[in-house]
């Protein structure tokens, strides 16, 4: 069986001007924009059609959400610094920044766990009212995206990092692609935080 090399993983295609991995992740992210866009559209539809809409802070913890915002924004800079370390050919710095990114992502999930359990202890479920239904759907989908990003980042910190020795350019590209996804997860939270907790 012959081994075929996947083309345009590093070099740019003449027709698009970018490599396939980057075009692929951006196309994926555009579909994600529409996925979360549909949920934000649903939120607007339900909110403008309701006379009494609860203020998010009456149900939710603003300090915990603000702390989570700090965690995700900080993880975004550590992620981009991980990529920059590879550009600088500093693999040990890459490992340090990637580990920090993962830890911050885990911290986000821990805070979310406490938030969810606090709701359940007060008998607040998605079925309690429309606001909580939206809150659990939107933040739940976001949490799934954080978990997905963490799995990818953990892979690139441990088994996937072997590629740095065999094909450093391709590995650097992979981290940039993983970073684009991780920043998108941060972007979604930047909108979820004010929409659900503050308005």
């Amino acid at each position: 069986m012959s081994t075929e090399i996947i083309p345009y993983t590093i070099e740019e295609r003449e027709d698009t001007g970018v490599n396939n991995a980057k075009l692929g992740i951006w196309l994926f992210l555009t579909s994600e924009v529409m996925l979360f866009g549909a949920l934000f559209s649903t939120y607007i539809f339900l909110r403008v059609g309701t006379i009494n809409w609860p203020v998010g802070s009456s149900f939710l913890s603003v300090p915990m959400a603000a702390l989570n915002t700090v965690f995700l924004i900080t993880s975004s800079i550590t992620m981009v610094m991980a990529w920059l370390s590879l550009v600088d050919k500093n693999f040990s710095a890459y490992r340090k920044y990637m580990l920090l990114t993962i830890l911050l992502g885990c911290a986000f999930l821990v805070v979310k766990y406490f938030e969810y359990t606090a709701k359940f202890e007060h008998n607040l479920y998605p079925s309690t009212n429309t606001f909580l239904g939206l809150y659990f759907t939107m933040t739940g989908l976001h949490v799934l995206h954080v978990i997905g990003g963490l799995i990818v980042n953990i892979y690139f910190l441990f088994p996937g990092s072997k590629m740095w020795e065999s094909n450093p350019e391709r590995f650097k590209n992979r981290i940039e692609i993983a970073g684009l996804y991780w920043h998108f997860v941060d972007l979604v939270w930047i909108f979820l935080f004010p929409v659900l907790y503050l308005l």
Partner: protein
């Protein structure tokens, strides 16, 4: 972003500046929510701050500033559809006022 001509020091300085700006904007977001303004003004304020933050993340961290045309045009097309998607519920509420 191509990595051939990346100045590591200037890039890391830029990323730290953006990070600090994002932190300040996060504090502003929380502060704005405590202002005694109408719901409409509150929503507009919060969304303006969130838009500035997202522009910084997308433009600098995701390297969209200076990205290739195909990526930019793909995103412009997505934003047009996104705006339409967001406006659908507002169209429906206008419809109920009319009838």
């Amino acid at each position: 972003m191509t990595t051939h001509n990346v100045d590591v020091k200037s890039h890391s300085k830029k990323y730290i500046k953006v990070y600090l700006a994002l932190m300040v904007l996060t504090v502003l977001t929380v502060y704005a929510s405590f202002l005694t303004v109408s719901v409409g003004v509150g929503i507009i304020l919060a969304l303006i701050i969130a838009s500035v933050k997202s522009t910084l993340v997308a433009g600098i961290f995701m390297h969209l500033f200076g990205e290739k045309k195909i990526i930019i045009w793909t995103l412009i097309l997505t934003i047009i559809f996104f705006i339409f998607l967001i406006l659908i519920p507002l169209f429906s509420s206008l419809d109920s006022i009319k009838y």
